[in-house]
């Protein structure tokens, strides 16, 4: 009899849970950007007057009625990336190759109604403002959408131009959190951003590992400054501001001056944020200087160049990675095989996300035809491509059209990266003011 009562009570609780959930509004899921409750800005002291990015920005302009020009010989998709004159050319070329593979595969299937797709390739040059000129060229070329780029100094300039010219873009390579926080209705990003990386690192370093005194060694550029922004803020908010922040320049090779200062204060752990080459040298010099602290880093370390440069000293280094390149997924395996066969090298994170981004644009064109506004509309409706499964995993766009898919940690073990799901904050009491945006 007692057992029956308990079963009934359990049934009752299960039945009532959704009722209480509705009453408390907790069916509205997570905070913006997956911000952990304890890290929501100012929330312990004051509610914000206005919360942004909760509802997807709409485009109210004209253009949905436009019909494509007659007699098109090719369906053009733009590409913007670092291909010349940049220190991240190797990353740009991978992004280009991923895009090319998607185009080639689509053309083998007949293109768009028999018209072949063509990639219109543009170098982002790397100088301030030049990327804007390339978007103007894309408009003159008549691209229907574009993908790119990696360096946030160029991607930000490019998206202001894309807003003016009304060309949809999916970014497969720039993890700058502020990229989609510009509120431009033409801009999406399918690669998870550094906000997600920062929360995963903060959770692992401070909560799971229990370290308290962390030293930061970051690139002295926008990638380093904005990339570590949320790590810095989050660590500070939970009571552990980084004990030292040292900076280095691109192409620098001797970091001993900065590392000497870090060594003197004997931190619990060291966070390195920069490109693969410099990060590899930093890790090597850390160990050569006798420092044994655990080293954590940014996703750009997930690169053969880092392993090669750091050598045996890379062992045990932990970074984030926006997807799991070793996932047991048939789509991913086929992509890796085809890419390796086509280009003679393994795809990296930029190649994989560019491949997905171009495929999403092609799928959008197949659904709505050749109209920029309609392509934008369907990419951002938070329905059609919500849950889209590419080679990098699932796409979960938030209200800013940023991919909130769970990310991975990458740990160097026996000279190679091993991937595991990144630790996530439990979201038991979602305190952010929310609107249901379909994710």
């Amino acid at each position: 009899m007692i057992t029956t009562s308990r079963i009934r009570l359990a049934h009752l609780i299960i039945f009532l849970l959704p009722v209480f959930s509705i009453l408390s509004g907790q069916e509205k899921k997570t905070n913006y950007g997956n911000i952990p409750d304890e890290l929501v800005a100012y929330d312990r002291y004051q509610k914000a007057y206005k919360y942004h990015f909760l509802e997807p920005i709409k485009f109210y302009g004209a253009g949905r009625e436009k019909i494509p020009p007659a007699g098109l010989k090719e369906v053009r998709i733009g590409f913007l990336g670092p291909l010349e004159g940049s220190i991240i050319v190797t990353l740009g070329k991978q992004m280009l190759q991923g895009s090319m593979l998607a185009i080639e595969e689509a053309n083998k299937k007949g293109g768009y109604k028999g018209i072949p797709f063509k990639l219109m390739v543009h170098n982002d040059v790397g100088l301030w403002g030049a990327a804007a000129n390339e978007i103007v060229k894309m408009d003159d070329e008549g691209v229907w959408a574009w993908v790119g780029t990696i360096d946030d100094v160029n991607s930000h300039v490019a998206i202001r131009a894309t807003l003016k010219l009304e060309i949809p873009v999916i970014n497969p390579g720039d993890p700058d959190p502020t990229y989609t926080e510009t509120n431009i209705p033409w801009v999406l990003r399918n690669i998870p951003d550094d906000r997600q990386s920062s929360y995963a690192l903060v959770k692992m370093i401070y909560t799971d590992k229990g370290y308290k005194r962390v030293a930061m060694m970051r690139a002295n550029n926008r990638y380093g400054r904005v990339g570590t922004m949320h790590f810095n803020r989050s660590a500070t908010r939970i009571g552990f501001p980084p004990v030292i922040e040292e900076r280095f320049n691109d192409l620098e090779t001797d970091f001993r001056q900065q590392l000497e200062r870090i060594k003197k204060i004997n931190p619990d752990a060291i966070l390195v944020w920069g490109n693969a080459k410099e990060s590899g040298l930093i890790v090597k010099q850390i160990r050569e200087m006798g420092m044994t602290q655990p080293v954590f880093g940014s996703d750009r370390m997930v690169n053969p160049e880092f392993l090669e440069t750091a050598g045996k000293h890379s062992e045990g280094v932990v970074t984030t990675c926006q997807y799991n390149p070793d996932a047991d997924e048939p789509k991913l395996k086929a992509f890796r095989a085809n890419y390796t066969k086509r280009f003679g090298m393994e795809p990296n994170v930029f190649a994989a996300h560019a491949y997905d981004a171009v495929n999403m644009i092609i799928a959008a064109i197949h659904k709505v035809g050749l109209n920029r506004v309609l392509i934008r509309d369907i990419l951002t409706d938070l329905k059609t491509f919500q849950g889209y499964r590419g080679v990098t995993g699932v796409v979960i766009f938030d209200g800013a059209f940023n991919n909130l898919r769970p990310i991975y940690m990458a740990k160097v073990s026996n000279g190679r990266f091993e991937f595991s799901p990144a630790p996530r904050y439990e979201q038991e009491n979602v305190i952010y003011k929310k609107v249901n945006v379909g994710y």
């Binding site: 009562s5 009934r8 009570l9 009752l12 039945f15 009532l16 009722v19 509705i22 009453l23 913006y32 950007g33 911000i35 800005a41 100012y42 004051q46 914000a48 007057y49 206005k50 919360y51 942004h52 990015f53 920005i57 709409k58 485009f59 109210y60 302009g61 004209a62 253009g63 100088l127 301030w128 403002g129 030049a130 990327a131 804007a132 000129n133 103007v136 408009d139 100094v153 930000h156 300039v157 202001r160 131009a161 003016k164 010219l165 959190p177 502020t178 926080e181 510009t182 509120n183 431009i184 209705p185 926008r222 400054r225």
Partner: protein, 396 residues
């Protein structure tokens, strides 16, 4: 717990669930967000079917708008009327003529006729995004997607990155201030001294901005205000050559902690200065600065058509606000917002003061709700939109 009690609780829960669901369905979302409830009042409900230009008591409503003028009798111009493109980026009134920048060239309206100028005539690029007139010389300065033009004596002179000190070829905004021609580009802001023919460029290297992404500017009383993407507003004192930046004090992109503590967001889109007031637009709302206090405006707490603002222009005490879903104007207290109906050429002017809201039906209305540029002079208000340009006449 016995069986009877269990059944009662289940029944009660279902009933409660139904009631809650019903309440959720019928409640007004605006009320749940603590948004002030407006007392809407349509001036004449059946005006749409009447032959009158304006309804009976519209004059009283217009009078209540006070300092903010109300425009009606809107006329739309599109490619059918002679524009090179329906996508109009900018409009500037220049005496008896009107200069309109479009995606496919610059159109000049004079003596009721349109004439188009393109690259064939000497424009640096057909995409004309900003136009201003030098009051000292009468020269027209044209910002295009591919360089800056000076239109003088019937000839176009081109300034670009290759032949001058221009920071970038995509010129988002041009503003004439004294003998200086100021430009805002994604590669920095700069000014051209028409007397010395020298350029001076401001970027992150010599001005208080993290990045040189500048998209609009305005000037007055010896100062220039640059809208810096991600950098708020950069104030430049032309006499002392000193800078001062204004950024959102809360420091977070995803919130505005307090609306009146400074610029409401660091992604600024334009500035406008008039009558000692600086107005700053963003894609998140608008701010007003009187030199001492800031005030923020959002679409949920004012008459602002929407928070996404493409451009602003101030004339006297009034600022005209180009939103993505309507054209607004305000003196900071009273708002007049123009909206077009989706299914006809008609629309309305919505006059908001405090929590009270009144409407004047307009037939016809503005050409489109996506407003990109605006200019006002005398009895006319021109707006560049996503679907043509339109001209409103002052309702007296």
């Amino acid at each position: 717990m016995n069986s009877k009690t269990y059944k009662y609780i289940i029944a009660f829960s279902i009933l409660a669930l139904l009631i809650v669901t019903g309440l959720l369905l019928i409640r007004n979302p605006a009320e749940t967000e603590n948004i002030p409830v407006n007392k809407n009042q349509s001036v004449i409900e059946d005006y749409r079917n009447s032959g009158d230009r304006y309804p009976g008591n519209s004059s009283q409503v217009i009078k209540e708008a006070g300092m903010v003028p109300v425009y009606g009798n809107w006329r739309t111009f599109t490619t059918k009327d002679g524009l090179p493109s329906d996508k109009a980026y900018t409009v500037r009134i220049d005496g008896d003529r009107v200069l309109v920048g479009t995606h496919d060239g610059m159109a000049v309206y004079e003596n009721e006729k349109w004439k188009t100028y393109t690259t064939k005539d000497g424009l640096a690029h057909n995409g004309v995004v900003s136009v201003d007139v030098d009051e000292l010389t009468g020269d027209v300065w044209i910002a295009t997607l591919g360089g800056l033009n000076r239109w003088s004596g019937g000839k176009f002179e081109t300034f670009n990155q290759l032949n001058s000190g221009m920071p970038n070829d995509l010129v988002y905004n041009v503003f004439c201030y004294g003998a200086h021609i100021w430009v805002a580009t994604g590669g920095g802001a700069g000014h051209y001294d028409t007397r010395t023919r020298q350029w001076e460029i401001f970027t992150e290297m010599n001005a208080p901005m993290h990045e040189p992404w500048t998209y609009a500017l305005s000037a007055g009383d010896g100062k220039v205000w640059i809208a810096a993407w991600g950098g708020g507003v950069i104030e430049y004192n032309t006499e002392t050559s000193q800078f001062r930046d204004y950024v959102d004090p809360d420091g977070f992109m995803e919130i505005d902690l307090q609306p009146d503590d400074g610029v409401i967001h660091d992604i600024t889109t334009a500035t406008a200065y008039s009558d000692s007031i600086l107005w700053v637009s963003t894609y998140f709302g608008m701010s007003r600065y009187d030199g001492k206090n800031w005030k923020g405006y959002f679409d949920h707490d004012s008459g602002l058509a929407s928070n996404f603002i493409n451009f602003i222009r101030a004339e006297g005490k009034v600022v005209f606000v180009c939103c993505d879903n309507g054209l607004s104007s305000t003196d900071g207290t009273t708002w007049v917002t123009y909206k077009k109906d989706d299914d006809s050429e008609n629309g309305k002017a919505i006059i908001t003061y405090g929590t009270e809201k009144k409407e004047i039906p307009l037939s016809p209305s503005i050409s489109h709700n996506f407003i990109i540029g605006v200019d006002a002079c005398g009895d006319f208000l021109w707006a560049a939109t996503s679907k043509g340009v339109c001209r409103g006449e002052l309702i007296k």
